[in-house]
C-alpha cells in the first residue's frame, strides 16, 4: 500500500478478451486498491478474468506503467492483453 487513504474512483477501459469477460467497454470503479496490480487482482475476482497478470501489461493515463503504479482519483487504467497487431 503506497497510499493509506480510503477509496478512490478510477476509470477502467477493457479491450479484447478482457472486454468480453468484463461485459463492458469501460466503467468507473470505486476501489480501495492502491496500485494498478491490486486493482487487477480485485477486478479478476469480480469478473473471473482468464488471463493471469504476468501475461498482461498495464497503462495508466495512456502511457505504459508498472503494476506498482499508485492510483489516484480520476486515473484511466487499461489492462493490456497480449497484442496481435499487423
Amino acid at each position: 500500500m503506497t497510499e493509506p487513504a480510503g477509496p478512490r474512483e478510477v476509470r477502467v477501459s477493457y479491450f479484447a478478451l478482457l472486454r468480453d469477460e468484463a461485459g463492458c467497454d469501460e466503467e468507473r470503479v470505486v476501489t480501495a486498491s492502491a496500485t494498478a496490480g491490486e486493482l487487477y487482482a480485485e477486478l479478476s475476482d469480480r469478473y473471473r478474468f482468464s488471463l493471469p497478470p504476468e501475461r498482461l501489461r498495464v497503462a495508466v493515463n495512456a502511457g505504459f506503467a508498472d503494476w506498482e503504479t499508485a492510483l489516484a482519483d480520476g486515473d484511466l487504467v487499461v489492462f493490456i492483453p497480449p497484442v496481435a497487431g499487423g
Binding site: L51, V78, I80, G85
Partner: protein
C-alpha cells in the same frame, strides 16, 4: 540522419488503406530505395480456415506508441522518410491490415528499418485481433489461456 524529411509517421484508420497515396508521400529525389511491407488478412491461421478478422485498437496509446516506433527507426537507420498506417475494425480476407514504407538512399537501411517498424508495431502496439473461423467460432489471437497459440503461430508475435 542526413537529409531527413520526416513524413507523416504513423496513422490509424477505420477505412481501407490506400498504398499508392502512402507511397507517394515518401517520394524524394535522394531516395534511391523504397522498401514496403503490407500485412493482409489471410485465409488461414494455425491450420484453421479464417473468414474475417476484427482489429480492436486502444487509440490513444497505439497512436503514441506507433509514432515512437517510427521515430526510433528514423533515429537508428540511415533513412530519409518512413510511415506506417494500421487499420481497425472488421476486415474480410485480402484486406490490408497494415502498411509500412521506408525511403532511403540505399537499400540495406530501407529493408532494415521497414522490418524494424513492422516487428515493433506488432510487438508493442495495443492492437488486438479476433479471428472468426469458417466454422463460425472466433478467438482473440495470443489470448488463449493454455498458451497453445503462441507456440505455433509463426506470424503473430505472442511475446510481450
Amino acid at each position: 540522419m542526413s537529409d531527413t524529411v520526416q513524413a507523416a509517421g504513423f496513422a490509424l484508420t477505420a477505412d481501407a488503406i490506400d498504398p499508392e497515396r502512402l507511397r507517394a508521400g515518401l517520394e524524394h529525389p535522394s531516395a534511391g530505395a523504397l522498401a514496403t511491407f503490407e500485412g493482409r488478412v489471410r485465409n488461414h491461421a494455425d491450420g484453421r480456415s479464417v473468414r474475417l478478422l476484427e482489429y480492436q485498437v486502444y487509440p490513444d496509446l497505439a497512436q503514441a506508441e506507433g509514432e515512437r516506433v517510427v521515430a526510433e527507426a528514423l533515429d537508428r537507420f540511415d533513412i530519409i522518410a518512413a510511415h506506417c498506417t494500421h487499420r481497425s475494425g472488421i476486415l474480410p480476407i485480402g484486406d490490408m491490415a497494415v502498411w509500412v514504407g521506408v525511403a532511403a538512399a540505399h537499400r540495406g537501411a530501407a529493408f532494415d528499418a521497414c522490418r524494424y517498424i513492422i516487428d515493433e508495431i506488432k510487438r508493442r502496439l495495443p492492437i488486438w485481433k479476433r479471428e472468426t473461423y469458417a466454422e463460425g467460432d472466433s478467438g482473440w489471437v495470443n489470448c488463449q489461456v493454455d498458451g497453445a497459440q503462441q507456440a505455433t503461430s509463426g506470424g503473430n508475435d505472442g511475446a510481450q
